[in-house]
């Protein structure tokens, strides 16, 4: 499926009572995870993981010098690392082959780049040099120590290099061919989880496999030398060790980019960068303002994740990052330029992500706010409540009314054929946001009348939220276990790189309840995920 939409009731399963002996006291109650969901043993690197891995493998600043564009993957699953997307085709193979050859040529054309990946005490004799190079470099490419026979296989390739690249030194020729081969190896292209168990049950991933799970979850790239060392010395063999290491990974700047990407994909933030508005009504609109809205949303959301905020803060915080364009739309006074600066927004007008410019502008027409799409987004992406797809519509629907709310109600409100979905699920949330126009600017009046943003939303459980406006709605959503479960569900999908199964949803339900009751930070939730068995083990095939 392209997009997983779990029934909301699954998200509020009763908390799991038992916990096994491995759980340590302080943070407690990690659930017994007596069974975990199956996972692929050979997830392919995504195209972006390939790029960042090559960057880090060769200690490059970026991979702009590499011209090859890899074959795009189909849009299956919610996130780009979903295993459903990572199929293989002839076009993939040609792309990886071409890219490997190009990287090898690029690296070996620069003595400095070759030196960066070679041992400092490389022997002079060719075979010994090749052996030393492979022992030094190949484990980083494979993200694990070499296994029996691999050194000899790659040494043979190294020694063959000179016959293929007669114009260069024998050593560089050998290294070039070895790089070509390593980058086409399944041990590079896949995150191979090779540990096996002869008996049904859970298989404990070894330190290097855990290191790769951590590094791709936090950095979208290969482990650092320090993380390799932790894998090697057994630091990642325990639950506490994994947690301890993961906690340090938040300090790496790549982690912020990774959670930027998470939020962009979870909330479709990239759509903000390509928005048009009516030139007649909004003559100052420029596409670049939408790009700034995207950046604001990324910075806000990642700052909460990295700064110790919780899911509640995503919906209630007034912290923002603005440049001059956004400050004007928020009605902020002061001197602002092209750089983004942190500000506090007016708490009577703004509360968390639902009241941010990008979301409001994306979910608007060229001229007017769009309560239906705002309401649909919140149901699908914040509450994870499935909605039936848009039915084929009757012809020539003509809205009636002076205000936007009246017109939407005339077509979809009580007494219309849209009553079932719109009047109780979609429109109430959309109407709460009627204080914000097509650019997200705050307004007291619309259609010549004071804005009416009050309504009632009914959860699937029957629980009702009554609110006067988006500030009140956001405050209540911030305490809703459904909303916490929805965010955590997506986070788990992203960290595990796959759709969730019933076993995963038990964890989601547990973390959601704890997030609401204990005010867990998102950092803490992430740490609980990576220390869970779902992250550190895999199912032995045939066990389930």
């Amino acid at each position: 499926m392209r997009r997983l939409t779990w029934i909301a009731s699954l998200c509020v399963l009763a908390p799991i009572a038992a916990c096994n002996g491995e759980v340590t006291g302080g943070r407690g109650q990690a659930g017994d995870e007596s069974t975990i969901a199956d996972s692929a043993r050979f997830p392919r690197l995504t195209n972006s993981q390939w790029q960042s891995t090559v960057r880090d493998l060769f200690y490059l600043d970026d991979v702009a010098a590499i011209s090859t564009e890899l074959q795009p993957d189909p849009p299956l699953g919610r996130f780009d690392n979903n295993i459903a997307r990572l199929a293989f085709s002839a076009a993939h193979w040609r792309g990886f082959q071409r890219a490997a050859e190009e990287v090898a040529e690029f690296i070996t054309s620069s003595p400095a780049l070759v030196a960066a990946i070679s041992p400092s005490d490389e022997p002079a004799e060719l075979e010994a040099a090749g052996r030393a190079f492979i022992e030094h470099f190949a484990p980083r490419a494979f993200r694990r120590p070499l296994q029996a026979g691999e050194l000899d296989s790659y040494l043979a390739i190294f020694l063959e290099g000179a016959s293929h690249y007669p114009g260069t030194s024998e050593s560089d020729a050998g290294k070039r061919l070895v790089i070509e081969a390593l980058l086409q190896s399944p041990h590079f292209l896949y995150r191979v989880e090779d540990s096996e168990s002869a008996k049904p049950g859970l298989v404990s991933l070894d330190g290097f496999e855990v290191a790769s799970r951590l590094s791709y979850a936090f950095w979208n790239s290969m482990p650092s030398d320090e993380l390799f060392a932790a894998a090697s010395d057994g630091s990642l063999d325990t639950q506490d060790g994994v947690r301890e290491w993961a906690a340090t990974m938040f300090e790496d700047p790549r982690t912020e980019k990774q959670f930027d990407s998470f939020h962009v994909q979870a909330f479709q933030l990239d759509e903000y960068a390509d928005l048009d508005k009516s030139a007649e009504l909004f003559p100052n609109w420029r596409r670049e303002i939408g790009e700034a809205m995207l950046r604001e949303s990324e910075m806000f959301l990642s700052s909460e994740v990295l700064g110790g905020g919780g899911i509640k803060e995503l919906l209630t915080s007034t912290k923002s990052f603005v440049n001059a364009d956004l400050a004007a739309l928020y009605g902020l006074e002061g001197d602002f330029g092209s750089d983004f600066v942190e500000v506090e927004l007016d708490p009577t007008q703004r509360s968390g992500m639902l009241t941010r410019l990008g979301f409001l502008t994306r979910n608007a027409t060229l001229t007017q706010s769009d309560p239906i799409h705002r309401g649909v987004f919140v149901n699908l992406n914040l509450i994870c409540r499935p909605l039936s797809a848009v039915p084929n519509l009757p012809d020539n629907l003509m809205p009636v009314g002076d205000t936007n709310r009246e017109r939407v109600n005339s077509l979809t409100g009580p007494g219309t054929c849209g009553e079932g979905c719109h009047a109780t699920l979609i429109n109430p949330i959309g109407f709460s946001l009627e204080h914000y126009d097509a650019l997200g600017q705050y307004r007291e009046e619309e259609g010549g009348q004071p804005v009416n943003s009050a309504d009632v939303y009914t959860f699937e459980s029957g629980e009702q939220l009554a609110f006067d406006d988006a500030i009140g709605l956001s405050a209540q959503l911030a305490s809703s276990v459904e909303v916490h479960a929805c965010y955590i569900q997506q986070l788990l999908e992203y960290l595990l790189g796959r759709d969730l199964e019933a076993q995963d949803m038990e964890l989601v339900a547990q973390y959601a309840q704890e997030s609401v009751d204990q005010g867990l930070s998102i950092r803490e939730i992430i740490l609980r995920v990576v220390e869970s068995k779902s992250f550190r083990y895999r199912v032995a095939q045939g066990a389930n």
Binding site: P74, P75, W93, S185, T365, I372, N396
Partner: protein, 463 residues
Amino acid sequence: MINRRRFLAGLGGAMVALPALESVKFLGGRARAAGSGKPVYSVFIRQGNGCQQEIPNAEPDRFWPAQLGALTTDILANDNAGQAVAELADYASSLLLVRGTRFGFNAAGCGHSGGLNQCLTAAKVTGDGQTSLAGGESIDWFLGQRVNPVGVEPLALMSGPQSAYIAHGLSYSGPQQLRGAANNPFAVYQDLVGLTGASQELLEAIALRRKSVNDLVRGEMQDLLGKSYLSAADKARLQTHFDVIRDIEVNMSCQLTDSEVMALQDISGAAEDNGNRMAVAEMMMDLIALAFSCDANRVATLQIGTGNDQTRYTIDGVLQNTYHRISHRIDGDGSEGAPIENADLLHHGVDVLHAKTFKHLLDRLSLYTSPSGGTLLDDSVALWTNDLASGPPHSFSNIPQVVAGKAGGYLKTGQYIDAGNVTHNKFLNTLISAAGVCKPDGSPYDSFGDPELAPGFIAEMIA
């Protein structure tokens, strides 16, 4: 990730660091048998959001010719001036317009997902809206498995962003097996040209080097495939990878001119931009024609715009509202929104743009001479289709099916026919036969798509 200078530098001489397209010589007999005779090339172009055809008591028809029957340039250009298909008047004798086909299965909620997933598969659609997927392979994959050599997959291309509501969904390699679609024409060209320009000596040297690497990789993959407790999904993934590794390097005998390649490069960083939608579509068509002309591939799909094409097209010099909203006739993607003035005419304007773009493909196919002496278009089947029939109702009945090319003489072109409200699997079956894939006894193919659909073909399409 594109480094333009680096690629251009390679154009003057041998392009060495680059890929293999081991397909070009398959006229020599390596292609899987697909009937007898000369090859037929199949290309499927998809427009979204329906066309502006008649909606009783609401909108007149501005798409089809007024009369069924023979088509001539005069009939299209003069008798039907202003209709969308009149843009194709120059190709009247090569056209086969087919009305009266419909999708066999209802939409699962959203008409766009139901239509896009069905239009080349004739399969049931699972899921709902954004989660929807086709329950069977698409015609391009079906044909590719039969008329291309092993390892040459049909080109799956699109013009539009990769990230959107139902970003793409045209080509399937099996049930729920959606294929990725490339949307950067320069990257597609890179992949196509491979080692074009390299000397035979250099090609042999590269082949030797690659074989060494391939042998090593194959050995590693065999070791992995031999692991115990491998899940079926893991095994299938690795096996596919193993199977697509090839050693044979074949030089493609044709390429675009330097100026054309530079145009591809210039647009590569902005291939998804709204303003480049049709320019990218035309470049993809150039690449499809190039691949056909070299016999490097015999099948291709091109999806123009995303699932509910949100492109803002320029009509009469004015950048218009999104095409999806125009197709609903209101300034909104659902049921509410202010009416868009003259939306039916704007929708017709979009149809005309797509007709002109389809004509670009026909022009391009006509530039190449086929081995049999005619043009490449004569040996091709080019389909311009849609995943909906019309705008506001988003109907599945009377899908606009515009075929061009004689398929080597198999199709009876130069006519406009009514298939009689049949499910469109029969239409696709006929195109399959036109591409050279018939039943073992030589009779037309009749069973593509979901087995619940009545089998058959459209005899009136066949010469």
